[in-house]
Amino acid sequence: MEFLRPTTWAEALAAKADQPEAVPIQGGTDVMVEINFDVHRPPALLDLNQVGELATWSREGDTYRVGAGLPYVTIIEELGGVLPGLAQASRTVGSPQIRNRGTVGGNLGAASPAGDSHPPLLAAGAVVEVESRARGVRMIPAHEFYLGVKRSALEPDELIRAVRVEAARGPQYFSKVGTRNAMVIAVCSFSVALHPGERRVGTGIGSAAPTPRRALEAEEFLAGELDWDARLDSAVLKRFGELCSRAASPIDDVRGTADYRRHAIAVMARRTLTWAWNDYRKVRAA
């Protein structure tokens, strides 16, 4: 197995262009597990850890650019205030060791329906910045990024450079059901983000369909029904939960049943929206 170690982004893109079958490795918390289990025997590994810029974040106006190689621990410590949904999701990933190594870039690269960063990226309307030597930069909205179980819109010669997320203008919440109180892959998860400026609520469902997805009907319902100057109507809340649950298409597997997942999505949707709404009203009242 070849081990490629580019030190600049341009070199990394060149290596990927010359050898599209090379598997990028950042934190390695997915890649090494798969190699260990002999799931893949890639002809080459493309180590991105020497490309320093990937492990940084920056701000452009109201948009935060989170480098593909920024570990979860940094997101939690440095971006919790501006990207609360993503930071909460990051806090639920694995254990401290995994959060020290694992990255959002790797989570996107793996594109597992159970990846925890996906729901908050969907709810916040994030954009994935990918690049190839041949075609340059492409900006892929998160909801167009996930194509199938562990399949994404990333082309073989492309690498993920960053994910762009707007600073939260309203409350955001992430919630994840697992059958253990820590270090657990999601049975299902849910994220909500209020966008008061647009009078819109963003959603993201995890681990309850072949891909992470938004609950579009539920978002449209709230856009029409939500009275942004009033308390949350319990009928609206209930309907929101039902629509989120309906947006899922879960399966029965060893982690949980489809019925349970549908039920849990509804509960999490109601709870997270309530928390967000209470925060929003509190801020407005203050």
Partner: protein, 765 residues
């Protein structure tokens, strides 16, 4: 032959503490620093790597097998099948001889070993496995344990008929009193398959010896029992097999059956080179037996005031394809089927069956764990039906010293169960839920609730476990103790074959030697078969049995030392490195009396003899000792999402004598955690005989955020028959924590919950 590097060697036991003191473990610092040599760290010059081809099917015929392509693979040194087994083709724990060393024409469970490869690199060996071509005839797996137990037309799984064992227990006359019961409660209970989930996967090294024999470095629970199976299968006399215990990374019963021992030895003898085998985590799930899943039906009749009149019990335990420990698991389930309660009329039928489900055998508390979940659930149900609280209903029916177990055996030692229950009830309750930190809530940092839907519940569990082997087995232990002056200081060398599996036995051996010989310096010899059997590190028995043999050997050494003292004394003792006369004070230092002499004595320790169970009535004095633990569990349940946070586990356990409080508390914490795992998360999920979650991604064991702080009350009511009056302590808490937690979840949710582990969808409906 070169000796393996990183092989076990003598360890000096640190500290000066004797019996009763919390001395530190000799292996503790090494383990914490990552320097302890586990069996997976074994290494020898020029060694080959062995690998095992396992069946993907739970039941199939092997039409043909072609090993030639694997043998032709560069770097491969041997490919072996059942035809290459030099001696007996079958082995079996408890000498049941029904498990093929390598499959013969047929496989009976997923993961059954079929062929072996030795190669110069582990990856080469694994790749060569892929090249062994097998033509299969796949058969429908037999997976219905109840049909296996009761339907004579159900096809046979192996040569031996079903059930493997049916053990009835009959006391009084259930039929005669049934109609007279004022209150009748019934329950159907299920226990899923739990795994030992030890962290050090199966591993070992076989080194061929010049005399045609073999040196085996293995992580096991009982070397001498391994030897009884390895010898015949290799066609070697026992004296040509030298076994040394290597670093054991946990066992919990899962290392009682053989795993790679015969396989590695076959490859080493065949190639003439040392062979190491090491399973990965995935293979480990197929490389050892699990806890028997159980299906249980209970009916209790009682008077309105909660006094139980009769118990009618049926327990079906699925052992998978081979016997392993099933016979004894059935014996425990039958004899302890109604637990520590006085019930005048009892009808118990316990069955162990063969199926094509994963093989099951020994795991911490076997047989007793399954029954305990059912009988404790029944106690709560009965209490509910009579309007009596959980503690009172248990106290109303509690056994005590002098009571008879269901087998008729009289409990010979103190059993203050009533007091223990009251003590557990009266312990201070944990603080009310503080939901300002989400880590305190069900779901923890996953933020499934900010307090919504969370309800608190409290539950109790009592478990009674037999300690040491039962039913007439003489599981003696042997110890050799040598006393000599080394560097001017009297030093004892303690040599046993007892397996240190993480429980802290070596610490206790040293403490006993210090106390009995009045010295400080103790060295523990590696456990090997150059000394007699110590029996198994199971059944909570090593402190009792090997503790007893070390004590006996020390006494023999001491008595010889006294013969070297000038003058006639009949009141000598040893303390502080001195020989002391009760009447005349210090006589001399041990070093001065011993000089350059070496005193070595070997002693066996046998426990009080037991009898078998009557095949029709189940009656008999079958158990050496019984030990009790009472748990009180407090849980917070998110009733809308079905998520559980165990808030506190309090335990009251009677251990007879605390040899080392630090180690003991570790055992109670660990046993409790394993019971918690069974209550809310641990299960090997099987469909059509196939395991669906053979990894730690999906076989979940409790983390530090799942296991709550514990409150412990440890009692010391001596058992007059046992060394120091001690009671085995490792297993009882594993029994009682599961039903206590489930009872607490029932209390919080109002649900009946008849199956463990309780999953979120069982709570949300």
């Amino acid at each position: 032959m070169t000796l393996p590097l990183r092989a076990p060697h003598d360890i000096a036991a640190p500290g000066i503490g004797g019996v009763g003191e919390s001395t530190l473990r000799p292996d503790g610092t090494l383990k914490v620093k990552g320097e302890f040599a586990y069996a997976s760290d074994l290494w020898a010059e020029g060694m080959l790597w062995g690998a095992t081809l396992r069946s993907p099917h739970p039941r199939a015929r092997i039409v043909s097998i072609d090993t030639a392509p694997a043998l032709a693979h560069p770097g491969v040194r041997a490919v072996l099948t059942h035809e290459d087994v030099p001696g007996r083709k079958h082995y079996g724990l408890d000498l049941t001889w029904d498990q093929p060393v390598l499959a013969i024409g047929e496989v009976r469970h997923q993961g059954e070993a079929i062929a072996l490869v030795a190669a110069d690199h582990p990856e080469t060996a694994r790749r060569a496995l892929d090249k062994i071509a097998i033509e299969w005839e796949i058969l429908e797996p037999l997976t219905d344990a109840r049909r296996a137990a009761f339907d004579p037309s159900y096809p046979q799984v192996q040569d031996r008929p079903n059930p493997a064992r049916h053990q009835p227990v009959r006391v009084g006359d259930v039929e005669a009193v049934r109609a007279g019961a004022e209150v009748v409660v019934t329950g159907t209970y299920e226990v899923g398959i739990q795994d030992q989930a030890f962290l050090g996967p199966e591993s070992g090294l076989a080194v061929p010896a010049e005399d045609g024999g073999i040196e085996l470095y293995v992580a096991t629970q009982w070397m001498h029992n391994d030897l009884k199976q390895i010898g015949p299968c290799l066609g070697l006399p026992e004296e040509r097999i030298r076994m040394t215990l290597s670093g054991v990374g946990g066992a919990f019963g899962g290392r009682e059956d053989l795993s790679m021992q015969i396989h590695a030895a076959m490859l080493a003898l065949h190639t003439g080179a040392p062979v190491k085998m090491m399973y990965n985590r995935h293979e480990s799930f197929f490389g050892h037996v699990h806890r028997h899943p159980a299906q249980m039906r209970y009916e209790y009749g009682a008077s309105r005031d909660g006094k139980i009149l009769y118990a009618d019990v049926e327990i079906v335990l699925d052992g998978g394809a081979y016997t392993s420990a099933t016979l004894n698991v059935v014996g425990n389930a039958a004899s302890l089927g109604v637990g520590p309660y006085e019930i005048p009329n009892v009808k118990i039928d316990a069955y162990g069956v063969y199926t094509n489900n994963p093989p099951c055998g020994a795991m911490r508390g076997f047989g007793a764990v399954q029954a305990c979940f059912a009988y404790e659930s029944m106690m709560d149900k009965l209490g509910d039906a009579c309007g009596i609280d959980p503690v009172t209903i248990r106290r109303t029916n509690a056994a005590s010293q002098g009571s008879a177990l269901a087998t008729g055996q009289i409990i010979h030692a103190p059993l203050p169960m009533k007091d223990m229950l009251a003590q557990a009830r009266d312990l201070p309750m944990p603080a009310p839920l503080d939901s300002s930190d989400i880590r305190n809530l069900p779901g923890g940092a996953s933020q499934t609730t900010h307090g919504e839907g969370v309800r608190r519940g409290v539950g109790y569990g009592v478990g009674l476990k037999n300690i040491c082997f039962s039913e007439g087995y003489d599981d003696y232990s042997t110890a050799r103790v040598r006393l000599e002056v080394i560097g001017g200081v009297a030093t004892a060398l303690v040599h046993t074959a007892a397996a240190e599996v993480g429980q802290g036995l070596v610490t206790i051996e040293a403490q006993i030697a210090r106390t009995e010989l009045g010295i400080e310096n103790v060295v523990i010899h590696p456990a090997d078969n150059q000394v007699g059997s110590a029996g198994s590190s199971s059944a909570s028995r090593q402190s009792y049995m090997t503790g007893g043999s070390v004590q006996a050997a020390c006494w023999a050494v001491r008595d010889r030392l006294f013969t070297l003292v000038d003058g006639l004394y009949d009141d000598l003792s040893l303390a502080g490195g001195k020989i002391i006369s009760a009447s005349r004070g210090v006589i001399a230092s041990i070093e001065d009396v011993l000089g350059d002499r070496v005193i070595e004595e070997t002693r066996e320790y046998h426990h009080h003899p037991t009898t078998g169970m009557d095949p029709v009535t189940g009656q008999g004095d079958t158990h050496t000792q019984v030990a009790l633990c009472v748990h009180r569990a407090v849980v917070d349940v998110d009733v809308e999402l079905g998520l559980v946070k165990v808030v506190e586990l309090a335990a009251v356990q009677d251990v007879g004598k605390i040899l080392n409080r630090l180690s003991l508390e570790g055992q109670i914490h660990g046993g409790t955690a394993q019971g918690l795992g069974l209550a809310v998360m641990e299960e090997i999920v099987v469909s059509d005989g196939k395991v669906r979650n053979p990894s730690f991604t999906d076989y979940l064991i409790p983390t530090i955020l799942d296991m709550p702080p514990m409150r412990l009350e440890i009692l010391e009511n001596a058992d007059p028959r046992a060394p120091y009056g001690l009671r085995g302590a490792g297993e009882p808490p594993t029994l009682s924590s599961t039903p206590a937690i489930v009872a607490a979840i029932r209390d919080a949710t109002g649900l009946a919950l008849h199956r463990v582990p309780v999953r979120p969808e069982h709570i949300t409906g």
